[in-house]
């Protein structure tokens, strides 16, 4: 009798241990998963195009395409610092003004209606770029031009333009060296202005720009190694210039498949644009980064996913009933007052437009101007403008009379 009891107790103990063990394992797994997650609470992006002039169209298209992807994946304009020479869309040589295309046959206009360029034209200088990164901005700078990141921000920095071994050319007049960039990142790290940084550069000999980094938590990608040139992708015969660079083109194709909830990691980004497609060899640097790239999600840098918590508590406030009633009455009164004022009906817009069409602004003084009629004013430009100015006033006075009647 004792033996089966003993065995059943043993069996139960073993089951309990197994259950405990699996619970502990899942707890450890949870902790491990948490450990591999990034500790960031907000995302920023600094997108820099360092070239100007019409033949560098592709650099502007590169930057704008990355800007579109980053916005689509969730980073708002207030968290994006976009530095562009911005002389493409309204360039005299642009056959389609107000557009910047990134695919040939004018498939995709990346300029659009809602581009918010923070530093444009001659403001894109090395000094301004370093000031944005380090935060040493003059106090009169508006908020949209600042990088207001904190120690829990993940920052994406994308640079494109013409570069060489250890330098990047800004606007054809100055250069930034890789040592300056490394020092700028060190100053950011000392002030804890970033949690993790992703640096992507698409220039010739781009890998030389990340050689000198020495601050922790930086991951870098470049489109070509030292001694290699990054090549452009496709020319468009109608526009007449090359539209995009190869590396950025394939990176964007990769990003098109990412949505805000996807779990793709950085290792996939490293495989983008192999030598067969890109002709140059893309490089990356991860030794300064603490986490393993396969645990780093693309959306950690390109998207903006926030931590949220459900609100479970409320305060209890006393109702002040008098106040709410009186305010309701005020609202009602305002509404009654507001009803008769419908200006769109009272202002005879058609009449004004008709009059404006008739105004012959550029006629000689002696030519009779129909609308001036019997007035002895000379039919000059000022005269017709005065007429235009007085006629709406005349009509407005009519409308106020109407208003009075209804009131």
């Amino acid at each position: 009798m004792a033996a089966p009891c003993f065995f059943s107790r043993l069996w139960r103990a073993a089951l309990a241990l197994l259950a405990l063990g699996s619970l502990a394992a899942s707890q450890i797994e949870d902790q491990a998963k948490q450990f591999f997650r990034s500790g960031h609470t907000n995302n920023w992006a600094v997108l820099v195009c360092t070239s100007r002039f019409w033949f560098n169209y592709r650099h502007v298209a590169n930057t704008l395409s990355v800007y579109r992807s980053v916005k689509r994946l969730g980073i708002p304009d207030s968290h994006i610092v976009l530095m562009l020479a911005d002389d493409m869309a309204c360039n005299a040589r642009n056959p389609k003004p107000a557009t910047v295309f990134s695919h040939k046959n004018m498939e995709l206009n990346v300029y659009g209606d809602d581009v918010e360029v923070d530093y444009r034209s001659y403001e894109v200088t090395v000094e301004n770029f370093l000031r944005v990164l380090t935060g040493r901005i003059p106090p009169s700078t508006p908020r949209s031009k600042r990088l207001l990141s904190d120690d829990r921000s993940n920052i994406l920095i994308y640079m494109t333009g013409h570069g060489g071994n250890g330098f990047l050319k800004f606007q054809d007049s100055e250069e930034i060296t890789n040592i300056e960039l490394a020092d700028a990142f060190e100053q950011m790290w000392q002030k804890r202005r970033y949690n993790e940084l992703l640096f992507i550069i698409d220039t010739c000999q781009g890998a030389s720009m990340y050689e000198r980094f020495y601050s922790p938590n930086i991951m870098a990608l470049a489109s070509s190694q030292v001694g290699e040139d990054s090549l452009s992708h496709q020319p468009d015969p109608a526009i007449g210039v090359h539209l995009m660079d190869r590396y950025t083109f394939y990176v964007l194709e990769f990003l098109e498949e990412i949505n805000p909830a996807s779990q793709t990691n950085m290792n996939d980004l490293f495989q983008v644009c192999p030598k067969s497609l890109c002709v140059s060899t893309p490089g990356h640097r991860t030794d300064l980064f603490q986490r393993d790239p396969k645990h780093v999600l693309i959306t950690d840098f390109f998207g903006s996913v926030r931590k949220v918590e459900i609100t479970t508590e409320t305060l209890s406030l006393q109702r002040d009933s008098q106040i709410t009633e009186s305010s309701y009455k005020e609202d009602r009164m305002d509404e009654e007052l507001m009803e008769p004022l419908k200006y769109a009906e009272q202002l005879p817009v058609a009449q004004i437009i008709h009059q404006a069409l008739l105004a012959e602004v550029w006629t000689l003084p002696s030519a009779p101007c129909g609308m001036l009629g019997s007035r002895s004013w000379p039919a000059t430009f000022t005269g017709s403008v005065l007429q235009l100015v007085t006629s709406p006033v005349h009509v407005l006075s009519q409308s106020s009379e109407l208003h009075k009647v209804q009131f």
Partner: protein, 555 residues
């Protein structure tokens, strides 16, 4: 003739040698140091030793507690020993480089007549009202009243009571070890009302290495000089709902009292807006059992981003912005509930995001649709809305639910929604956080100056650094002597000065010149001058060497 000529040339040669030597001497002894001095980057002197001493600063946070004993609370012979002071000091075990010690200085005394009278009234609220009129308590200090063990002021099973102002009531005991027992209870209460390890850990969360991933401690906003609070009403369907909200009245009545109670913590400004046709980024799902729509919890993080760009928060100010959104769902998606992790609808129908703000979904009463045609006029119940928003505001500031000791009665919150000692807790946490931030900034500035040799320090930047160091030391002194409000002001000044020094635009004055560029600049200037001097020096040296060796040969 030849001898005279030879003597003349010899003199010339000697003069030539002397001239060359003088040139070389002037160039090396005078020119080189002058060039070095005039081309070095200007660095005004900074108190490096004091800055490194700040890292080893010992922070002592003192909470002055006044303990008032009524007549029957403790045995008579213990009462004879009053008044005296007991100090209880404890080190906070945080893995932070600054050691922080918490010191409760309890001053025991007997109750005065009017206090005895107040504490023998019927209920604890009356007692508090009578006691509160009499004196104003300094920030950071506490008063604990010890009443008799059998007093009816508190309910029978409750041992202590924490009031909304800085007072508490504790039951006494008739025992030999009365002082020790009561002392322990008082320390528990005082810790709940002022400083616990959690409060300090939350304040220092950004500076502690390991606790990066704990969500509780990442909730509070960073300390700043001021905050901008924006209330937005989102109406995606104006054709169906004509929404009105009396935001001005609500802000006047509920929000400003709360913010005025918090005014010691910073400047606040409040604004509001209404946005039409602003959609959430997520499509809600239909739940056939309750005929309602719901937003699952995992889709909540994606709600904020599409809306945020339309809020216009970047144009508001340079202070951190807190956004509170009230979303009235469209007719096609009404009613809309938020589900938590278990699938149950959330009672408040609201969620918040740390360091950003909160969103509440306001469902319209279905009876409003019955009689009238579209658009239906909706009058938002501001009290219900403000209850949630103010609760979220409290959470975003890090004012958590207090950890009361067992058998303790916590009084209900005041009208403003904030108890005075909660404000004190916030100020303690903010002072410590400010000191930590200021110290880190100054230390990193000193480290940067060591690493990067091209940073210029002008005189006004140096004076800001001196001011910051002095403010940190003053704040530490004030904290050690228990003056919370002046300590907080000093800590804010320390942070402002140190940030101003670190982020001064003039520090970026000289961009980097790598060594090869420096050579490229100096070689065309120095080489033409240096080559003749060096060659002549070499020649002189060789001749002298030859002339030394000649006498040897003769000998």
């Amino acid at each position: 003739m030849a001898a005279v000529g030879a003597a003349a040339t010899h003199l010339d040669v000697v003069r030539g040698k002397r001239a060359a030597l003088f040139f070389a001497a002037v160039a090396i002894l005078l020119g080189l140091p002058l060039w070095w001095k005039t081309t070095e980057t200007y660095r005004a002197p900074l108190p490096y030793s004091q800055i490194s001493a700040l890292n080893a600063l010992q922070l002592r946070l003192m909470v002055p507690v006044t303990v008032v004993f009524t007549r029957d609370s403790i045995p008579l012979d213990d009462q004879e020993k009053l008044p005296f002071t007991v100090v209880h000091e404890r080190e906070i075990p945080l893995k932070y480089k600054m050691k922080i010690k918490c010191r409760f200085q309890k001053a025991y005394r007997r109750a005065l007549d009017h206090e005895e009278e107040a504490l023998s009234s019927g209920s604890v609220h009356e007692a508090e009202a009578m006691l509160a009129e009499l004196k104003e308590q300094a920030e950071g200090s506490l008063t604990v009243y010890v009443i008799s063990e059998y007093s009816s002021l508190l309910p029978q099973d409750m041992m202590s009571y924490i009031g909304p102002e800085r007072t508490a009531v504790v039951r006494g005991i008739m025992h030999r070890e009365a002082f020790n027992i009561i002392g322990r209870r008082i320390i528990q209460i005082a810790q709940a009302m002022s400083l616990t390890e959690d409060v300090l850990a939350a304040a220092l969360a950004d500076h502690l290495p390991e606790d990066k991933w704990s969500s509780d401690k990442r909730r509070p906003l960073k300390s700043s000089l001021g905050y901008e609070i924006t209330f937005s009403l989102l109406n995606p369907d104006p054709k169906s709902h004509d929404v009105h909200w009396d935001i001005e009245g609500a802000v006047q009545h509920y929000v400003w009292p709360f913010l005025n109670a918090l005014s010691a913590a910073g400047n606040f400004s409040v604004d509001s807006q209404i946005l039409y046709y602003a959609m959430l980024g997520v499509n809600p799902r239909f739940d056939p059992t309750s005929f309602s729509y719901y937003l699952p919890m995992h889709s909540l993080p994606h709600v904020i981003n599409p809306v945020e760009s339309r809020l216009g928060s970047s144009a508001a100010s340079l202070y951190p912005v807190l956004n509170f959104l009230l979303y009235v769902p469209e007719l096609a998606h009404s009613p809309l509930y938020i589900q938590d992790m278990d699938g149950a609808p959330v009672a408040t129908n609201a969620f918040h995001s740390p360091r950003w703000g909160g969103i509440m979904v306001y469902n319209i009463d279905p009876k409003a649709y019955n009689a009238s045609e579209l658009p239906v006029r909706v009058e938002v119940d501001m009290v219900q809305v403000m209850e949630v928003f103010l609760a979220q505001l409290r959470l975003l500031f890090g004012i958590a639910q207090p950890q009361v000791p067992p058998k303790c009665l916590l009084s209900g919150p005041k009208n403003e929604g904030l108890m005075t000692w909660e404000l004190d807790q916030l100020l303690w946490a903010r002072s410590v956080e400010n000191l930590a931030t200021a110290t880190t900034t100054l230390t990193s500035l000193a480290q940067l100056l060591g690493k990067i040799s091209n940073i210029v320090i002008k005189d006004d930047v140096a004076s800001e650094v001196y001011r910051a160091v002095a403010a940190v030391q003053k704040a530490a002194e004030e904290l050690a002597s228990g003056h919370l409000s002046s300590a907080f002001v000093a800590s804010q000044e320390a942070v402002t000065s140190s940030e101003r020094a670190f982020f001064d635009p003039s520090l970026l004055h000289l961009l980097y010149f790598p060594d090869d560029q420096k050579f490229a600049i100096y070689i065309p200037l120095f080489l033409p001058m240096a080559v003749p001097i060096l060659l002549s020096l070499v020649k002189i040296f060789l001749e002298m060497h030859k002339s030394w060796r000649k006498p040897e040969k003769i000998d």
